[in-house]
């Protein structure tokens, strides 16, 4: 198990050090985050148990729903995690393992994705444990129930291998199709394949682990379903084994070839007479375009849009509305902050350059804030007007000013969090999820107090932005780095 020790020594060590240093540096923020996550989780467990209605539902129905939810949740989480850690393999240490240590490619892939799997599993547990608690509390635990739950857990590595295979296959197809727009094609293919994968698993019930629900008797059937699952996992692993060497070969070759891609230059000299604010906006746009960050945001928006449309087509109205609200409340926030949360780490990375550029700190911040606010309002309108009103017929009042004020507060708050806790490739998604949970709690508290609407507007539109700008300017964008 060389790959496991490599994963633990490299990623595990880095993760431990990051966590310890972050919590030591920001004890209060760490405590607040921990408290918020614990509270929202306790609330979630209570609501799930309270909402359970064992008298009306047979154990088979409950298990079937739990199975579907299990597959959907884990697939969704791992798809997002695999996508956002795609550049992790490009660090020099993995290239070194590939070229110098003659380590089998599949082991490099396993080492790279070990913690990604662990995190997917953690978030899966976060969502699924209350569902399992309902089964344990309200139903008599039989061997059959335990077996079904065991199969659900066992099917997780299968799903993960499947998603890795889909990612690698998308990449290899994209490389063969077109080299110049490779990143965009990989993203689009991965969206399509992942969507198909989730749809097949979720809605057709065509999944081996669920066979046991229908073969609800006899020891032989248990053995058969277990064997089928193990065969399916092995097949996926075999596929991963075959694809990984081709994938890594292409990936590292591509890294070398990247040097020879010439970009169409922008004549920055022409910006000389532009106002500073416009220069900052153009510069940030160039960064987002060339680092493919906008593509990531596009990926999330399309993915969430597809989920809404698919739920509308497949689920009944009641279930659709609950999915819709979830996506509209939390998914959209994720789509909005996924890019701007990295602004802080970009600032810290280039602060010596910013020092020599003599830029004004307020203009640096305001230019980016303006750009991200406009992007976020566009995302909101796309959801509210495009997905909700036109496709699903859910009426959203576009003229409610509070939604726009809320978007502005989310934007500035996420920028501030990105500065306080600079993100890396590895912790970006965790930070985003923590942000969404904490923001959810704050909103829950604010709206539970029945505060006057003018006070809520003041809080979102003036107080939060004012505090954030003050923290950013006094603590980070201060002199002499910026004016």
């Amino acid at each position: 198990m060389k790959w496991l020790s490599i994963a633990r020594k490299l990623d595990g060590k880095q993760l431990r050090e990051n966590l310890i240093s972050t919590f030591i540096r920001n004890k209060m923020i760490g405590l607040l985050v921990l408290l918020s996550v614990t509270s929202i989780y306790a609330l979630y467990i209570l609501l799930t148990i309270k909402g359970a209605n064992p008298s009306n539902q047979s154990i088979n129905d409950v298990l079937y729903r739990a199975g579907i939810m299990s597959i959907g949740t884990f697939s969704f989480i791992s798809i997002i995690f695999v996508f956002f850690t795609r550049n992790k393999l490009l660090t020099s240490r993995y290239k070194h393992f590939f070229s110098s240590l003659s380590m089998p490619s599949v082991e490099i892939i396993l080492a790279n994705y070990y913690y990604v799997f662990i995190f997917s599993l953690l978030f899966y547990c976060f969502v699924m444990i209350p569902v399992f608690l309902v089964i344990i509390f309200f139903y008599e635990i039989t061997f059959f129930i335990m077996f079904c739950m065991f199969l659900m857990w066992l099917s997780l590595p299968l799903l993960f291998f499947l998603i890795l295979n889909v990612w690698i296959a998308s990449y290899l197809i994209a490389v063969r199709l077109n080299n110049n727009f490779r990143n965009s094609i990989v993203t689009i293919l991965f969206i399509i394949f992942s969507f198909v994968l989730i749809s097949i698993n979720l809605f057709s019930g065509n999944y081996f682990s669920l066979l046991s629900l229908y073969l609800n008797s006899g020891f032989v059937n248990y053995i058969v379903s277990l064997l089928l699952l193990i065969i399916y996992i092995s097949l996926n692993f075999w596929g991963l084994n075959r694809l990984s060497s081709i994938y890594l070969g292409n990936l590292f070759k591509e890294k070398l070839e990247d040097g020879f891609i010439k970009y169409k230059s922008v004549n920055i000299s022409k910006w000389r007479n532009d106002p500073q604010l416009l220069i900052q906006i153009k510069l940030e746009l160039l960064r987002l375009y060339r680092t493919n960050l906008y593509i990531e945001q596009f990926f999330i928006v399309i993915f969430l849009g597809l989920i809404i449309v698919a739920s509308y087509k497949v689920l009944n109205f009641e279930n659709f509305i609950s999915i819709y609200n979830l996506v509209f409340q939390f998914g959209m926030i994720e789509a909005m902050i996924i890019v701007l949360i990295s602004l802080g780490s970009e600032f810290f990375k280039t602060k010596f350059l910013i020092y020599s550029m003599n830029w004004n700190g307020y203009i640096y911040l305001f230019g980016r804030f303006l750009l991200y606010s406009v992007t976020n309002i566009c995302i909101y309108l796309l959801f509210a007007l495009g997905v909700s009103t036109i496709i699903t017929g859910v009426n959203v009042d576009l003229l409610t000013s509070f939604q726009y004020i809320r978007i502005i507060s989310i934007t500035i708050l996420a920028i501030t969090i990105g500065f306080v806790w600079p993100v890396q490739e590895f912790n970006r998604l965790i930070l985003i999820l923590v942000f969404i949970f904490c923001y959810g709690i704050i909103e829950l508290i604010i709206f539970n107090f029945n505060l006057p609407f003018s006070l809520i507007n003041f809080l979102y539109g003036i107080l939060i932005p004012f505090i954030c700008v003050l923290v950013l300017k006094k603590k980070f964008l201060k002199g002499p780095i910026t004016k």
């Binding site: 004549n267 000299s269 060339r290 002499p480």
Partner: protein
């Protein structure tokens, strides 16, 4: 003239005490010392990036207040810094980066830029993203970006890291030319051979304290050699004797 006077800068496991350093126009000041001796802290304090517990920074005898823009405005326009860290806007091409430097600092010298691009031999890479350049070429882009501003004072941390022998020789000539044209230069380096013919003033620090500070002419008189390595060894004599003794005894024991 830039002066830095650090009376005290304390960290949990390290401190810098009583360090004074000056950079004069038209002269090169060398800052030498072992890893962790405090060189980078001194440079960052000079730039106002590290807050001093006790001490000050002066430009032409006027103390700089880094909390007040009017106070450090002139300082920032006079000074340029080339860090040891590999820091650039990776999403730009070198030529875009140079253009950004010129418009941000309100300078316009296309001929000088062409000259620097040719001298540092990066014309082949100017339309390639900076993120795809080799470490050496990135270092060249960093150096050009700062020299382009024709600064009054230039601070360079480890200038030779990542550069090939050709470029080290060329950089040395450019630094000497800048000095002759009146630029005050502070160089922090481990490369004693590179620094040898460059120095006008030398400061050697060990564990946050100055152990030697003098002009190069005085050093030549005192130590009767221009060889910086010999001078460095003599200054750190106790340390090297201890290490030699240790190597002699322990290596034999373990072989």
């Amino acid at each position: 003239m830039i002066e830095i006077n650090i009376i005290q800068k304390k960290y949990p496991d390290f401190s810098i005490e009583d360090v004074s350093l000056s950079v004069f126009p038209g002269e090169i000041t060398l800052l030498l010392g072992h890893n962790g001796s405090g060189k980078t802290t001194i440079i960052r304090s000079l730039l106002g990036l590290v807050h001093l517990d006790l001490g000050n920074i002066k430009l032409d005898n006027i103390e700089i207040n880094f909390q007040n823009y009017n106070s450090y405005k002139k300082f920032k326009s006079d000074i340029r810094f080339i860090p040891d860290e590999d820091v650039l806007f990776d999403y730009l091409t070198p030529v875009e980066y140079f253009q950004l430097v010129t418009i941000s600092n309100n300078i316009d010298s296309p001929d000088f830029l062409d000259f620097l691009i040719n001298v540092f031999d990066i014309s082949k890479y100017t339309k390639q993203l900076i993120s795809t350049l080799s470490h050496g070429n990135r270092k060249k882009v960093q150096i050009i970006g700062q020299i382009l501003c024709k600064p009054k004072y230039l601070i360079i941390d480890e200038p030779t890291n990542g550069l090939d022998p050709d470029m080290i020789i060329i950089l040395k000539q450019i630094i000497l030319k800048l000095r002759d044209l009146g630029t005050g230069i502070l160089i922090s380096t481990h490369d004693l051979r590179f620094a040898e013919n460059l120095m006008n003033n030398v400061t050697i620090i060990r564990n946050g304290k100055i152990i030697l500070q003098d002009k190069s002419d005085n050093l030549l008189k005192e130590y009767r050699t221009c060889n910086l390595e010999d001078i460095y060894k003599k200054i750190n004599n106790d340390y090297y004797n201890f290490i030699e003794e240790l190597i002699e005894n322990e290596m034999v024991k373990h072989s």
